[in-house]
């Protein structure tokens, strides 16, 4: 690998770089680009696909709870999406993600139908601040719903693999048992680890003696009465996250709550957003602002900017704003008018804005 990175070879391969030659023959030998090869495919639930991937050698690893951006080529177009890793930090040289096929999800449906061993995808370094602290808390409460199970699954597996001595409560909400991809794995963990308590709650299927329906104070009392003393990690639907946020605020323990949201925040129609115009300096296009995100407006104008998560976390769509001020609906901040890189998927214009698109 170091040979491939040498300056001499670089000078000989200019301007395309060594990558431009080896990448065509052996994508996994890439000295620069990070990629992942699919080595195993399992379908653990009716609507999901679980993929084991082997990243290229120089991939920099991850912390439990983080996500990666996976780039999949579909009909000639490289589509990039964010997926939380579901495996333990200790799994050397392999990572695992579970993708739930969404009705309108181009990438998730493609992977669900076509994923097979040997495929090579683009991979990003792991990102995201939804991680366990290095010094593990004594009590942990992991709450998830639906496909939000993956990052907390990674946390749970990591804690088990390192022999975490503290108490861990894992509370997961799903429609029905068959919708839980990791049901077997969770049962195995529960059988082996005395201090891990796993509770699966089904929202559409109640059975005697079990909790049912959506999260409530009663659920909390029954599952983890000492939740005030726990560090809580939540990933799931907006309803779940909103409820937990409110309850934790009521109890005054928000500082021990860590949230990962994988659904786009609703763009509050900012009155100032619908005034002025948005200019795209590279393409020469210009539109009257309609108050939606700059990414939406760029696409409306016929441009095809790169994007990933469309919710302000992956920074794929980051581009240079050359003039004007924007409101970041995620952070709630309004920027200065300086030239700067902004995430166009969560930025709405405040007056006239120019983007280098």
């Amino acid at each position: 690998l170091n040979v491939l990175r040498s300056r001499l070879l670089g000078a000989l391969a200019a301007p395309h770089g060594v990558e431009g030659y080896f990448g065509l023959v052996r994508p996994m030998w890439s000295p620069r680009d990070r990629r992942a090869q699919l080595i195993a495919v399992r379908r653990l639930s009716a609507d999901s696909v679980t993929m084991t991937l082997r990243p290229t050698q120089h991939w920099s690893g991850f912390r439990a709870g983080q996500f990666i951006r996976l780039t999949v080529e579909i009909a000639g177009v490289c589509e990039t999406r964010c997926y939380s890793l579901a495996c333990a930090e200790q799994t050397e040289g392999e990572i695992e993600i579970t993708v739930r096929a969404h009705m309108a999800g181009r990438v998730s449906r493609y992977l669900y139908r076509h994923a097979r061993a040997g495929m090579v995808f683009g991979l990003s370094d792991a990102e995201g601040g939804f991680v366990l602290p290095r010094v593990r808390p004594e009590r942990l409460l992991l709450i998830s719903s639906g496909s939000g199970i993956t990052p907390v699954m990674s946390m749970l597996r990591t804690l088990c693999a390192e022999g975490h001595p503290g108490a861990v409560t894992f509370l997961h909400y799903a429609r029905a048992p068959e919708a839980v991809a990791y049901r077997a794995q969770l049962a195995a963990i529960a059988a082996r680890h005395r201090r891990v308590r796993i509770v699966l709650v089904y929202t559409r299927q109640a059975s005697a003696g079990q909790l049912a329906g959506h999260i409530s104070r009663a659920h909390l009392r029954s599952v983890e009465p000492a939740h005030r003393h726990a560090h809580t990690y939540v990933c799931g639907s907006p309803g779940l996250i909103d409820w937990v946020r409110a309850a934790w605020a009521e109890d005054g323990i928000e500082q021990r709550l860590y949230v990962e949201s994988f659904l786009p925040p609703v763009l509050a129609g900012c009155a100032s957003g619908a005034e002025g115009s948005v200019g795209f300096t590279r393409s020469g296009a210009r539109v009257r602002s309609d108050g939606r995100s700059l990414l939406d407006q760029a696409e409306q104008a016929g441009l095809r900017p790169r994007f990933g998560c469309r919710m302000g976390i992956c920074r794929t769509c980051t581009c240079s704003k050359t003039a004007g001020s924007v409101h970041n609906v995620l952070s709630g901040e309004t920027s200065s008018t300086d030239e700067e890189d902004i995430q166009i998927c969560v930025s709405v214009p405040v007056g006239d804005v120019e983007l280098a698109l």
Binding site: A11, A14, P15, H16, L24, E73, A75
Partner: protein, 404 residues
């Protein structure tokens, strides 16, 4: 203006023309997919293959056939890299793929010209102001007289010589294109204003020189002089070929140059109209298409510069049909004839005198007198000539309605 007498379009017609061409564009955009991705990747694989084979063979260049084979393969590599890959990728023709390796914004080619400068001088300037005298710097590259509408000066006697030198050193001509050396010589700007561009050109020229004329020859040990000669020959072959195909795109007899005034208030339909009149195609076949980077379909390329180039052949069928319906010329001919016509024009324009009349397609209509009058009193810069004076006189002489 000069052209409207011959091919007048009412504003409704040019609007309709714009709509029809826009419809072609939308149709192709909606159809982009795996076929286009496969095509460009196949060309890239072929180019990289030729390059590796060419460089490899040149290590054995003490065997004459190996030298010849090496030079041929490396020439093909450079031609494919510049023409079908670099030029088209840098147009953003494959940006929709969202593949960083095919991103028009970052792509770099095997050529002395920095990609960034090319994107400016070519994608923006040339494609926006195509054939507009004083605006489009591709008209003569600031060193040649390519139009009757450029006033004659004594130094234009060297027109054929300058053209030959430009052809031989074409990649360097392109490399300094964006520096606007002619404007520096004319004292309109200083070297200091272009310091950043100058440094980028220096970096790129150095990178290319080190690779082709230092490292690869040295690696070949005793064959170093042969490798160096081989690399120089491949660069020369690419230079001559690129010059030939590019000059066939806008300068065969029949292509039209415009003035800034004529194009000041252009609509989209009129922009299409100018691209049609200012460009010329080469008839040949698939091999010519690939090797010319589909500049054999220069007309289609200028109408739709950001559609994948391998689509031009199929688009051409519709464009020809549209031209026929609107009574517009569609300038096409075999490479030999078109290039012969360019060479003839370069030689003819070395001398003063009246432009040739008649012939195929449109010539510059009855503006000769105007042209001479204006030329006599012309300012040093083409831009100012192109401004008011020429058009006012033209309007009198030709009595023509200026509607572009």
């Amino acid at each position: 203006m000069g052209t409207t007498e011959t091919f007048p379009l009412t504003s409704e017609q040019s609007e309709a023309l714009g709509r029809e061409l826009d419809a072609i564009r939308r149709r192709v955009l909606a159809d982009l997919g795996e076929r286009d991705a496969d095509y460009i990747r196949a060309v890239i694989r072929a180019q990289r293959g030729f390059e590796v084979a060419g460089r490899g063979l040149l290590f054995f260049s003490f065997i004459p056939p190996a030298w010849l084979g090496g030079v041929t393969a490396l020439s093909l590599s450079k031609i494919l890299d510049n023409m079908e890959i670099g030029h088209n990728v840098m147009h953003g023709q494959y940006d929709w793929m969202k593949d960083p390796a095919l991103n028009g914004r970052n792509f770099e080619w095997d050529n002395a010209c920095p990609g960034e400068h090319w994107r400016h001088s070519h994608n923006y300037i040339h494609h926006t102001y195509t054939n507009v005298l004083g605006k489009d710097r591709d008209v003569g590259y600031g060193m040649l007289r390519m139009s009757d509408r450029q006033p004659w000066r004594l130094h234009w006697l060297g027109n054929p010589l300058y053209a030959a030198l430009l052809a031989i050193f074409f990649q360097y001509g392109v490399a300094v294109h964006d520096l606007e050396l002619d404007r520096m010589l004319a004292g309109e700007m200083t070297l200091g204003e272009k310091r950043r561009e100058l440094s980028a050109v220096w970096q790129k020229v150095r990178q290319q020189t080190i690779k082709d004329y230092l490292l690869f020859p040295l690696l070949a040990g005793p064959s170093a002089p042969l490798v160096l000669a081989g690399n120089a020959t491949a660069n020369l072959a690419r230079n001559l070929w690129a010059f030939t195909t590019i000059f066939c795109g806008h300068f065969p007899e029949g292509t039209v140059q415009f003035t800034e005034q004529e194009t000041a208030q252009e609509t989209r339909g009129e922009w299409y109209y100018r691209q049609l009149l200012g460009s010329a195609n080469l008839s040949g076949g698939e091999l010519l298409d690939v090797l010319s980077g589909n500049l054999s379909h220069q007309i289609e390329h200028h109408l739709f510069p950001d559609l994948p180039s391998h689509r031009y052949a199929e688009i051409a069928v519709d464009v020809r049909e549209i031209c026929r319906r609107y009574g517009l010329p569609y300038n096409i001919g075999p490479l030999g004839r078109q290039f012969g016509s360019v060479v003839g024009k370069i030689a003819r324009l070395a001398l003063p005198g009246r432009p040739r009349r008649g012939g195929r397609a449109l010539q510059h209509p009855p503006e000769d007198l105007a042209h001479d009058l204006v030329a006599a009193a012309a300012d040093r810069t083409q831009a100012r000539v192109a401004g008011g004076a020429l058009d006012r006189v033209l309007a009198h002489v030709a009595g023509a309605a200026v509607d572009l």
